[in-house]
Symmetry: C2
Subunit: 224 residues, 2 copies
């Protein structure tokens, strides 16, 4: 493992208290989970009221990028203010012999930090590309790039990946020892997010082939 | 539509400013989205720092239930304090002719409110059952119910569904009119969360059949 991959993003605030054995703080664990997640949930507070809004993120190295319209309330609320970005990948339903020990298999990441606006044109362009490429690899070369007006009316925020934690649960249910004698079926129902057949819109010229590889380029498919 | 289903959960704080045509505030829109989502993202603030943690929720009527260990930091932080519960169902990737108009089809719900601890034994038992049944319908009759110790060490919180909004995007990309002349493929890649073959754990007795209907009882499958 490289030094970068082993770098710890642990802090007191990101340290797991419940089931600490499920926690990880190294970039090698945290980055792939952020990359696989197609969306994140962004938390911020306004006048003491927490809000959680789904949005798209993209990671470039140890920076996470968020974007939206310049007038966007959410982006305004998190600019230069503490926020939290959380992603969760649901991998399976865990059915135990007791109601109590039912669980889910998942991989989640919580990032704490303060986001700031990207004003450098090259960094902003790279962030745009990362966001498009995250959804479909190769897509930025298969559509019209952002023009000046679009770039100007879109705000990009950078959140350093400096303070974060991952939490991962895998494997079968863990029942209380006496419960293993019970006759119930117990195990895992795996869950996967899968892409269906691409549906061209009504104004795509007839005969235009879908230009991407569904199995390897779309969303998180390439990570499986 | 019943009076209950048409009841508005709109408030100034839950009113969508961006793309207001995608917003809805009626229980008939909001409840099924909450029911289909297998997990939610719970937002709260501690010392001005927002946190967003994934957890399981279950709806009973116009109440949302959350649960966890009595010692759980997150539950302690939201008890009698403002919180936000957000669920997001990702339905598709929207590929436009311009990078700018790429989007996602999704259904999300944001609930604002203050959660309080459930102390009534019958309500707590009903919340437990709703949480188990939400994951696999019929499961609460196919496992050992919670015993007194488990009930005592688990905290259940009730969040009234009184202030909420839904945001829904469906359909093809919407490109700028001149861009429709471009040769790019544009359309939607549908996404679905699908269950795989159930994997019995090593200590399930050989020959024990999976006791649920994968197509209709598991997770959100019954909503599709």
């Amino acid at each position: 493992m490289s030094i970068e991959a082993a770098r710890s993003l642990q802090s007191d605030r990101t340290t797991l208290r419940r089931k600490p054995d499920r926690g990880a703080y190294d970039a090698a664990t945290i980055h792939p989970i952020l990359d696989e997640a197609l969306l994140c949930h962004l938390g911020f507070a306004v006048d003491g009221q927490p809000y959680v809004i789904p949005t798209i993120h993209a990671r470039v190295g140890d920076r996470l990028y968020l974007h939206g319209a310049v007038a966007n309330r959410m982006l305004r609320a998190i600019t230069d203010a503490p926020c939290c970005v959380t992603v969760t990948l649901l991998d399976g339903l865990v059915l135990a012999r007791s109601a109590f020990h039912h669980s889910m298999n998942f991989r989640s990441v919580v990032v704490l930090g303060t986001a700031s606006e990207v004003t450098d044109a090259a960094e902003k362009a790279a962030a745009f590309e990362a966001i498009v490429e995250k959804v479909v690899r190769g897509r930025s070369a298969a559509c019209r790039p952002a023009n000046d007006v679009e770039i100007r009316t879109t705000k990009v925020l950078r959140l350093p990946l400096a303070e974060a934690s991952a939490k991962v649960r895998t494997g079968p249910p863990i029942d209380d020892e006496p419960d293993y004698a019970l006759p119930w079926w117990a195990g895992v129902i795996p869950l996967r997010l899968v892409p269906g057949e691409p549906q061209a819109d009504a104004r795509t010229a007839a005969g235009t082939d879908f230009p991407h590889d569904l199995a390897t380029d779309v969303g998180s498919a390439r990570f499986r």
